[in-house]
Subunit: 468 residues, 2 copies
């Protein structure tokens, strides 16, 4: 039957180029670059050819900026649309800049609408127009329509190639239609059933079609309960909806409820990953955190954040300044005050991380806000008491000064409670005002824990008359 | 054709119970709880019945712990396997504890293997045995086998119900087989083609089967290049592989390469989301960060983290202690030193977040480590210089003391560079030693920025003879 002629190695993606985590091995990357540097195009091509498009895209991300052009030149015939679709935005821009508008148009014509849009949307307006002119009218219309939707909306994410059938068809009609129309997409997992106004009335998984006799009407096998995506919905909401309802694909509808496109889960998976990972980057003020971003953008984003944090650090310093005479008389206060503010900062960050994640995943809503606040207050009180006791006892043994130990322990308890409350109130309040809590919370929480840390410790020390 | 009899409202998931973000409205949750409290089971049922299983699961998560039992009692017939599969682990345990082993077995029998395992794996060994005894032998064997794989591995995640066909079959054979075998799963998107030893040789998307004439051999339409998942692979790696290669489903193979199960993307999506979101929780020492976790577990996890951070705070305090005489003479040092350590901490957190994400998404490998270090060093140097200038100038205008201004600015520059280097070296080193960089990095980075912040500022002040 000829099976023995099939290359065995091809049946499993377990090539030597990849390590156990599917990352390209450094020796492999080195070998490709060496071949490119020596001008040995054939050797470079031979190395790169067996790779999956996603791995070719990774290869371009892993090599230094300066060498990407030479590599692209060496393996230009392997650089197909799939590779570009998988590539990091900045790296893709690098390469696209090196191509002519006609070459970009050829690439775009090969791609699904969503991937073509991803390539074209970041180009300069003039280059964009040139690429669009070079496309054939159908592709151009599809891409122009996608570009008319807001960035990061369902309209940009969807593909227009989909299979929609009228509800009076039978399963057999659907199969005959699919077999008879070569031009239909093959990249679909469900068939949408529409009414005469092209509004979706049901969805039919391909497995149901395959398991049903030809004479059965599709209206009898389709699921009427479907999750529709408005075309202007933000991609983050799209991702949450896919995740919540475990969708494989979903119909996108315009304002009049007409079917205009389809989003499949593979387009959404990287958004889920990206949006979930963004929190840590935003909370720490690292912007997009893309390691392929041009360095001046990174410097600008991070410096802006540091400058925003500067006034809060100065505010805390001003609080310390209120007590400078006492510190001059009793310098041990300067030594310990950083522990109070620092431990409060740690506790605040813990609470903040939990609340930001709970908000982002829709687990924290107005139904359970009060419960969450009460929960965090109890956690803060018990951790604050425990820490206060440990630290107070340690301080007593170290300094032999019971008053200092009590003040120190008490300040730690107070600042832990401040941290817990700030960690929960700040993000919830920002969220109510539709400000992304991940972006702006930590400035306010740090401000609270720093100033209240110093104020509680130095203030209590003053009340107690420590250091005379 | 009777379409007009179909309830219109069912065709779109846009019910009044949900807000625009697919979250249950607080008034709705309140109404359900009121009905339950008043003992009006019919009213509660009527409210809950139209909900999607995922929303019923959310409802249980949103109501307080004490009321979950009563709610479950009121809507017990709506609590099917799908609802349990969507539910948060802790909330599910709450409810499962209230059921008898036979009831749990009835639930488990309805579920796919992976969902049944998720329910059973957390039960007490004795209850687990009782549930397994109550299952019919086939289900029991499937679940026992799944439980024999390590936690969080592909073996726990996979379902055993799949469609596998021999490679000599035609497309028509496959369709006939699917139509003729009622007992086959309907929850599949690809058919696996296997050799006589039950080893996968290719994968066939259902759309290809539907679009191909019956007489064509499946071997001619299947993709031979497939991504196989080893049964003992960690679920995080599985998720990365799905994402990288944009998979909808994948065959799981045992050590001998035999097909033992299938993982579909909907099982992986929540892992992708969870793993990506975990970084922010781990970096901040918030453990799992699950808001449904029993509070004593949360207190323990977070307190442990705070106690681990205590020695680093004390180390920094010890550094300050080295300079206590100088601080006593010139208390303004105590005021400004917190700005140096705090701004360094902020810069370190930025770098750390970027590096941890890049490691987690396999974007940072040994091929580009040196480039990353060099990149972060340049960012730190330019941000440090900018901040040092701003802060030094501000200090000069405020204090009129040029020596203090220079020391302050210089210390900020030094600590920014320390922060950048620590932010990149610490996670990369931990990753090399197979320690999760998200869990342990920030302790070390904070230690560096705190101690070096104080040491550089107070040390330079001493060298310069500030405060006599």
């Amino acid at each position: 039957m000829g099976e023995s002629e099939l290359p065995e190695a091809d049946t499993e993606r377990d090539l030597d180029e990849l390590d156990e985590d599917d990352r390209l091995r450094p020796e492999f990357v080195r070998a490709v670059l060496d071949a490119v540097e020596e001008g040995d195009v054939d050797a470079a091509r031979a190395l790169v050819e067996p790779l999956h498009p996603a791995d070719i895209a990774d290869l371009f991300e892993l090599v230094p900026h300066e060498q990407r052009g030479a590599l692209a030149h060496a393996v230009s015939d392997l650089l197909d649309a799939d590779v570009f679709a998988e590539m990091n935005d900045y790296v893709r821009e690098d390469l696209i800049d090196a191509l002519t508008p006609t070459e970009v148009a050829d690439l775009a014509a090969e791609l699904d609408t969503d991937d073509a849009v991803a390539i074209i949307e970041d180009m300069e307006p003039e280059d964009q127009r040139e690429v669009l002119r070079a496309l054939d009218p159908d592709d151009r219309a599809a891409i122009e329509e996608a570009l008319s939707y807001p960035e990061e909306s369902a309209g940009r994410l969807m593909q227009r190639d989909l299979v929609a059938v009228p509800e009076h068809w039978t399963v057999g009609d659907v199969i005959t239609y699919l077999r008879g129309h070569e031009e239909l997409t093959t990249d679909f997992w469900e068939v949408f059933v529409v009414d005469p106004g092209h509004r979706p009335v049901g969805t039919c998984a391909l497995s149901w079609i395959l398991r049903t006799p030809r004479w059965v009407p599709v209206a009898d096998v389709m699921a009427r309960e479907q999750t529709l995506i408005p075309v202007d919905m933000d991609q983050e909401e799209v991702a949450l909806r896919f995740q919540k309802y475990a969708l494989i694909s979903a119909a996108v509808v315009d304002g009049a409820g007409r079917l205009v496109g389809m989003i499949t889960v593979d387009d959404v998976v990287h958004i889920i990953q990206q949006e979930a990972g963004e929190d840590v980057l935003r909370l720490s003020g690292a912007g997009e955190g893309d390691i392929n971003e041009p360095i001046r953008l990174t410097v600008r984003t991070r410096l802006m954040w540091l400058l925003i944090n500067l006034p809060t650090a100065m505010l805390a310093a001003t609080v310390v300044g209120l007590f400078d005479e006492r510190i001059a008389r009793f310098a041990v206060l300067a030594q310990l005050m950083g522990i109070v503010s620092g431990m409060g900062g740690n506790a605040g960050t813990q609470t903040l991380a939990v609340v930001v994640r709970a908000l982002a995943t829709n687990q924290l809503t107005s139904s359970n806000t009060m419960r969450m606040i009460w929960r965090e207050l109890r956690i803060a009180a018990s951790n604050g008491s425990a820490l206060g006791l440990v630290v107070g006892a340690g301080c007593y043994f170290w300094s032999g000064n019971p008053a200092l130990a009590v003040v120190f322990g008490l300040a730690l308890l107070i600042n832990n409670v401040v941290a817990g409350l700030a960690g929960v109130f700040v993000p919830i309040t920002l969220d109510r005002f539709d400000v992304d809590p991940a972006v702006s919370s930590s400035v306010f929480v740090t401000m609270c824990t720093d100033t209240m840390g110093f104020l509680s410790f130095l203030g209590l020390a003053t009340l107690w008359g420590l250091g005379g």
